[in-house]
């Protein structure tokens, strides 16, 4: 445990990267997932099929493969996909191509699950609601935005929470693709201080548990707030 306490700045920075990966990917996959679900349940057959194909293909691909693709494959085909144009530095944190490729991989992967979680929420809204909204003259966007999605989001909070918890833990994959986040830092500690392996492992496990608990807590609060009395 001493190693962890002595190098607490490194641990904090590593978890900082974990949190940054999580937050950026969470916001982006929420956006992309919402677009996907709108396509998926929308009236335009082409878009609906396209979204279904995307979800099926990407969801069925292991996350590591997606990471490998963006780290080692895509850049060879399209130069822009090397993400070497990303070069942002905030304080001690560097957000460069490795971070970006990580965010892109996590976002593309997680948005499928967000899409499906939201779709389960949409399915939970009785058909009559959408029909009533259409009957009062709302266009498709209005039906979605004002009637269906608010109810759908409420119903999809529990599955969304699971999805984001999975995302938080999935950020550890970035550890072997150039981002020194918590899992990579743990590896580096266990290698340098082999005798304290258990303490190091426990400390990082606790770190992840705390982060996951925070996500669950936010989900519980939202669930309570949006509950119909």
């Amino acid at each position: 445990m001493n190693v962890v306490l002595d190098n607490f700045d490194l641990v904090a920075k590593a978890f900082g990267y974990t949190i940054a990966l999580f937050l950026v990917s969470a916001v982006l996959s929420l956006v992309l997932g919402t677009i996907l679900v709108a396509f998926r349940v929308g009236p335009i057959s082409v878009l609906s099929k396209a979204a279904a194909v995307y979800v099926t293909v990407v969801r069925n691909t292991p996350l590591v493969i997606i990471f490998l693709f963006f780290q080692l494959g895509a850049g060879k085909v399209f130069d822009a996909l090397r993400f070497s144009w990303v070069d942002i530095h905030i304080g001690q944190f560097d957000f460069t191509s490795f971070f970006t490729a990580g965010v892109v991989s996590l976002t593309l992967y997680t948005s499928c699950f967000v899409c499906e979680a939201l779709r389960s929420g949409v399915n939970a809204v009785p058909l009559g609601q959408a029909e009533a909204a259409r009957a009062i003259g709302l266009p498709f966007a209005g039906v979605m935005r004002q009637v269906v999605l608010p109810q759908a989001v409420r119903a999809s909070v529990p599955p969304l929470a699971s999805t984001f918890i999975a995302l938080l833990k999935n950020t550890s994959v970035a550890g072997v693709f150039g981002v020194i986040e918590a899992a990579a830092q743990m590896k580096s500690f266990t290698n340098d201080y082999a005798s304290e392996r258990w303490g190091i492992f426990l400390a990082f496990a606790i770190g992840y548990i705390i982060l996951v608990e925070i996500v669950s807590l936010v989900a519980t609060v939202l669930e309570r707030r949006w509950r119909i009395a």
Binding site: K49, V57, N60, L68, F98, K187, S188, S195
Partner: protein, 293 residues
Amino acid sequence: MRFIRTKAVVAGLGLALSLAACGDAGDDTEGAEVEVQEDAASEFEDGTRMKELADSGTVKIGVKYDQPGLGFKDAASDIPSGFDVEMAKVLAADLGIAEDEVEWIETISDNREPFLEDGTVDLVLASYSITDERRQVVGQAGPYLVTGQQLLVKEDSDVESTDDLSGQEVCSVTGSTSLENVKAEGMKPVGFDTYSECVEKVLDGTVQAMSTDGTILAGYAAQNEGELKVVGEEFSEENIGVGYSQDYPEMCQWIVDTITEAYDDGTYEEAFNATLGPSGVEVPELPEMDACE
């Protein structure tokens, strides 16, 4: 409710990736001829681990599979090649075990101590730097090779030393001492799982350089001749040793004696020339090995 059934074609994506992940396999270099000791078991005292291994007729040795020149195994060959592997053969031969009877096990930087502790491997020769922290959990005999960390850059790169890369991203492998040294030199470490992935990143220009032991880099430079080169002074000192389990402290002296013997009779030099020689590294003197407890 309408269910859309879609046939996913993931195979195409996977295939593209597997192609991208493959590097060029190096030329097969024949290692030195190592004479296998006959009736080796009688050489050792009863109750020693060496006797047990010699009697059992096989030994499990952990080596790297992805470091050309040190420990490398391509899909086509059964036995890995490289200087570490040659040293492993020398040790095995002293136990009366031929190279095809050795059980070669891939170890990565991360799992060398756990593998030694739980007996997955009997010996580790995997560019294994001797450190005080590691000696607390495993035994390390040697060093049989001293190397230092250098930089591997593209052939047309202007980088000459670590100063040129101050504040820049430099690739190395997570869970190795290299990454810490990169940080200490003022460069920003970027960690990947294997060295070959770092080589890819240098080749495609995402990072300017990768850094680890010069001997490892020399192997990659030789493999990618005309594309990559090793530059800079050595900015760390890595003492490469043989890992063994602390349960069998008697192995230490045997390892030291066997390697010293191999140096004296020229096997060491032969092994070096066959493996690291082509990358232009001179055969070093055998470093003074640490005394065994």
